[in-house]
Chain length 393, copies 5
């Protein structure tokens, strides 16, 4: 699956426009390609098996842990894995899947953990809007005797080479198991993995839903460095405006506003996800987890607030720049007008005495030349006084 | 009934304006023509029979199915059809009517399925706003002993020749019967029909309300390719702006914004329709259907989100273009001013010595010519220094 | 009472501005003149009798009907009418008053039907905001033993000579009686009157509240032709813009937007009125009426929707026009700059060799003339190349 | 306490700007000066006594009335008044205080009627936002055995010399007593006072809360003449715009918009006050009063509506004016460009043949002069044709 | 911790732009630096001890008081303090910590008062959004047997050298203890401290939550002088606009709008904090406190209202200025056009008769010179009449 990237900054940094466009890197809009309008919703086991796998490797990492033990495995033989059992001492099992291209993996896990066909569809058809779904039904989409599952879709935002890169993360939360599916390798969870290695850390002592909290918290908190990056660019641009920067400032501001808009659109629905997780009780969500989610909710509200402040600042900056442009244009035109209106009449006068008429009064007068300059000075002076009066000087 | 079409793109593609207007294809606004303000609402049997049928054929297709059987019929003799019985094995009967011009068909079906006069009126007086009405009353509009009916109005959006074409679809949902009325032939339901042919598909095993879900899902999901079309055009326009496109860009952006506005206005009320169907229980709506409608609701929210993003992008694009225009104008005027203010004073000077006065000091001086050029250069140089100081160069 | 009229279109149609203003027909704003701030609210019998009647005739029409009988009377002797009785067979009695100038009529009817003083005040002090009030008290404004009354204020919009004309309609609904007061003769209810003449029509079989429904439905549905009129004007204006129309287009658009704004402001509170009638039960409102009011509610929502679409279209049109103006101005200034900057230097050069200096190098040279032209061409060509490079040509 | 005045109109009416500013009458912004952040809230008896009284007289008027009797007194000796008793027959006692400068009066009344310290603080620290507070506690701010009081803050708007003047009115409503405090003499209640003199008026027969209603009704209804004043000014300005008025129109419009904004900000919270009084039951509010407050609520909604309409009209007017300015500028620049581009080339040509070169081809040709004119006409004609083609003429 | 400062005004006051930017004082945006996305939330005892303390001193002041006694201490030996006991007579103990750099202090107090790890994290990671959290759990974040605590975050705004300075204040409210943490020394609470010294003041007689109220009230009321400062600057700017100020006015207005935006963003969430404290009961909040918080709520609403009014005024001012600029530019261009179009044709004419052709008709004519002037006057006069007709003069 290709990365959704906004490579506006490339343009800033000197690449010529044509090159950027030719290289297909004009601002790519977010697009959702659903190739099958009209087919049945939900993807069940058989359909999964019939789906063609795409290119790209899939990596499955399994971490079993409890307060005093931890086991990290990389799974290559998925069939062997789903046939086996988890270690008896394991309190929580976190299965992380990097890449959605190999249907074999998705199919095996969907079967083992009895994932709902609608959730499997949302997992595969990226990008979905962040949301929380609580399923308690069997695999056919009909009410059944299935164990409870919480299905959460989140968006993980990262800066890659100065561009906002957005990836869908799907969580399936059970009582003692957490499944996470990422579109591609590379995430913001390394600190979590390190914490899981530390014996006695709060994470190790807590349940599966607390792991969900920790993962979402890491995703949300990663918004702060992204905003800091945008804040730095905003300050740079402002500095340029203050230094009397040229016209290249406007497209930069517009691009920044556009990226902030995209950022906000990605973050906004996450707020509802976190609020839902925090407020609506579910048998898989621990009480402590919900207390801690309050903290994540505060952070996301702060991020949205900050993003809005930045957007209004950027708008104000554009407005200030355009105003200053208007003011400068006004001044330029004033200078043009003053020079023109002073010289045009006296140039005409010089033209008159340049005529080759036989009888030109004064032509032979000894003081004619001086008189001409005197008239010119009077005219120009009169104009200047008039301009002064109108407040143009 | 004529199609509501926005043929803005025709204009884009080289047709001259005058031709477009003369051909009556200026942007047609959505209009609702109700020819009978003041007459009684609702259309009952007798009124239906007295209505004159318009031109255009009507095609009625009936599909009876259950898990292990399916029967597709095209009905020509509507009276024979309503007099007959459906096959005994039939679990669900879907009657689809293409075209609303022949009153005979509407009248016969309204009588057989005891449709409410108000619903029949809404069915015929297109376009109506999408909505859900639950009727349980008899044909006179008075509470009665009638079997329950759910009446749903939806809008089916299609792209025809690059134009947004919008059509009203009316659904009557009973316990085992689904009636659909389309304004004209041609729809987005072929995948559904193919699924109904497949034995063992989920659709075949489910009830009438699940068919309603599948049809609405197909309509909603068809919004994605339409948005993709608009996204492609937006990217094209942006490319043109980046390449320094000319003035033809602005009307294109305005037209696109207008089409996105229309698109949003058509889609927006559909959200309420789906939410109502999903949330408010009705005896004709199955439990599974309502679970699956959650999925459709997610999709429509995503479509509206995407549409709003596109609209803001288009606005930003227009703003960027106008800003760049202002900046360029500023530059042009600066050049004009610089050239003018440099040459006007020295032209005047040349004019002075072009005068035919008898006594012109310096006229006879051998270095006069060189001195003149020196003065000109000093004046021009002084101007340039002054411009430099003001930051104009 | 004078009509509130927006005669903007007069201006469009060739009347000169001055004439329009002198004739006192500049855009009249909606104004509410309450001459008595500080006096007691409500108008009781004695106050009514003391109010001076204005000029203008009042016409009272009374229609008694039931399913199989109907009687239409015009009442001149109001005292005789209120003293008499209605026909025994009469199921519903509709009393329509055209004109509010003769206090005798209002006073007599207010006494006979025990109308609440606050309602009588609202009836006379036009324009009021559309609203629904339920009164069950006696004439003194104190809770009493009075029969129930529903008091409804609506606004009837009509196009008169291309202008939006707005009139207040006051309804008093009893169990078997409906009183309607219009500001002046002329309404949109003729189809209703014709229906009342038709034996066996649904209206004839229903109760007084159904008549209320029919009258409000006629008022609301009359919004569609008005919007159609505005839509046609919008299309005309757009055609003009496409044809490269002149500057007279902007005031036309502004005027249209203003009229649409007024239209919306008049229609908007009607929505609440209809919703209140439909949702809040009252002993005078029949069950069937409330089912049918759902239909009216749909229509008014559609009207408001359409009006908003038109307003956004009009805004977009103005924006497009102003953008195109900017673009054209840009082009004009570019031409000016190019011509000026090409000719100013070479004009200066010609001026130099027009000087009457004795010693001008090259003056006597045989090729001087040709050399001069060569220099001019080189200068002009250089300029053109430079313009080309900057993308001005 | 100084009056908050917007003397924008002074500027309109010919006073020069400088004078206006020098006289300190630039648009005064609404400001709230709280001199004691950090001190305890609420002002109790002792604090009141220690507050220094300001300059300015205080006038206390007491009106006792019942249906068949009325007594109006002006109180000079406040200590005597609070020590005495009200007439035994008195049903309602209205004590009106004009001026808040003499603390003796406030202190004596606060003690006699046991006003809450928080309310006393709000009464003195003007301006407060309009609000309703229900107190039932003793003077220390702690729950006590105090009789119920309703504390209402309203704003009385008046036009003084064309300026909006805003004054805080504080009401204390008891069962049989109404206290009103005004910032300064002069109010809109004279019609109420006249009504109280009339035996048998509804006001005389009703309770204290009905008097509250009547006073608030008078304040609210006084908004209509103010809006009428603004409406008249808006029409005047529009007339000027239609007559092609000069640049002085824009500041007038901006000033009017600003005044309408202030007006709206003052009126808006009054709506909540009236709704609270009408909806939330309180032992001091009679049932009839609450019925009549519905009427006041209608009026204030109408005022806000009208104010919004005026504001949108004013915005539209400014936009229209700026658009027309752009259009005219466009036209001016077009004329400039046409004249310049026609004459600049032929002026150059004349300049060429004005050169004093020895060998000028054609100089001696008999038809040279006519040929020159012919060339000029061809050039100018060509230009005109080219302008025509571009649609500039 | 560095102060968040907006030093826009420095720029106003003559410092050159470059200097300002070089000195790193371009408008600093609000930024939140969270250095540990991905680590566990909450900071417990051990983590606190391991955190490195920063530079800067910490000052702890403890005030114990009851109605008839008060004791103020400055604590240097925090370990000794937490080991000791409070005076037995002490009704309320207020511990104020200035500075968050020394972890020893925070750690000791967090341990003694069993502060929740999440609250401790919010306390240290400034800035947080203002909020109220109610904790009743033990230190591990798990439900426990801990005494109730109310955790409040507020923002204290001060003007320092004309810049808005914002500081986070964290409150922990217990039954008889109030802890406040400030980012740095210097606050708005000196009047509170003086009141606590006064025997018999309301504050001395009340409980800990009333102290919370008094402190928040002081913070909120301090918004009024800040707004007054902005109001004064707004008036200054307006005066400049009225006096026909130059272009330096626009950046001033934009800067003011930006500061008002920041002010609003800081104040807005405080409203929710106060509403929550006032509405939601908690065992640590006294009844009287909640009555008094109503007053603070009124004040904050007033502040937000006033801030919005100022922002709209500032926007209007900018618009007025830009409009006046447009109008002046229009006028300038008109003058340029008039002068140019009058003189260009007659200059051409003079040029024609300046040509050195042998045969120039009229050259020898005695009246040629006068005739030339006559033609020029006619041409110029004709132009003037034409301008007059177009309304340009």
């Amino acid at each position: 699956m290709p990365e959704r990237t906004l490579d506006a900054t490339d343009l800033d940094r000197g690449a010529t426009r044509e090159a950027a466009v030719r290289a297909g890197r004009g601002l790519r809009l977010p697009k959702i390609r659903k190739n099958r309008p009209g087919t049945a919703a939900g993807i069940n086991r058989e359909q999964l098996d019939s789906l063609q796998s795409g290119p790209g490797e899939v990596r499955v990492t399994v971490i079993d842990y409890r307060a005093d033990n931890v086991l990290v495995r990389t799974v290559d033989d998925i069939d062997g894995f789903v046939a086996g059992h988890r270690p008896e001492w394991s309190a929580v099992c976190w299965i992380n899947v990097d890449g959605l291209t190999d249907m074999k993996f998705v199919s095996a896990l969907a079967a083992k953990y009895e994932l709902h066909p609608l959730a499997v569809e949302d997992l595969l058809h990226v990008p979905q809007r962040p949301k929380v779904d609580a399923f308690g039904e069997g695999p056919a989409g009909l009410p059944g005797t299935h164990p409870a599952r919480l299905f959460v879709i989140a968006r993980m935002l990262q800066l890659k080479g100065g561009h906002l890169s957005s990836e869908q993360i799907s969580f399936f939360v059970g009582h003692r198991t957490l499944l996470t599916f990422q579109e591609r390798p590379g995430d913001v969870w390394d600190p979590i993995r390190r914490q899981l290695q530390k014996p006695g850390s709060q994470l190790r002592r807590a349940d599966a839903s607390f792991l969900l909290y920790a993962l979402i918290d890491a995703i949300v908190d990663h918004g702060f460095p992204i905003l800091e990056f945008y804040g730095d660019r905003l300050e740079e641009i402002e500095e340029q405006v203050l230094m009397g920067a040229g016209q290249e400032v406007i497209p930069q501001i517009h691009r920044l506003r556009r990226e902030l808009l995209l950022f906000r659109r990605e973050v906004w629905p996450m707020r509802d996800v976190i609020r839902t997780l925090q407020r609506e009780p579910h048998e898989c969500m621990g009480e402590t987890t919900r207390t801690y989610l309050r903290d994540v909710h505060d952070h996301i509200v702060q991020i949205i607030d900050l993003c809005d402040t930045y957007r209004e600042f950027a708008s104000g900056l554009a407005e200030t720049y355009m105003s200053s442009l208007s003011i400068r244009m006004n001044e330029v035109i004033k200078v043009l007008t003053i020079i023109t209106t002073i010289f045009i009449p006296i140039t005409f006068l010089a033209g008159v005495y340049g005529m080759n008429l036989r009888h030109m009064p004064g032509e032979d007068w000894a003081w004619a030349y001086s008189a001409f300059w005197a008239v010119c000075l009077v005219l120009a002076g009169g104009m200047l006084v008039w301009f002064k009066r109108r407040g143009w000087l």
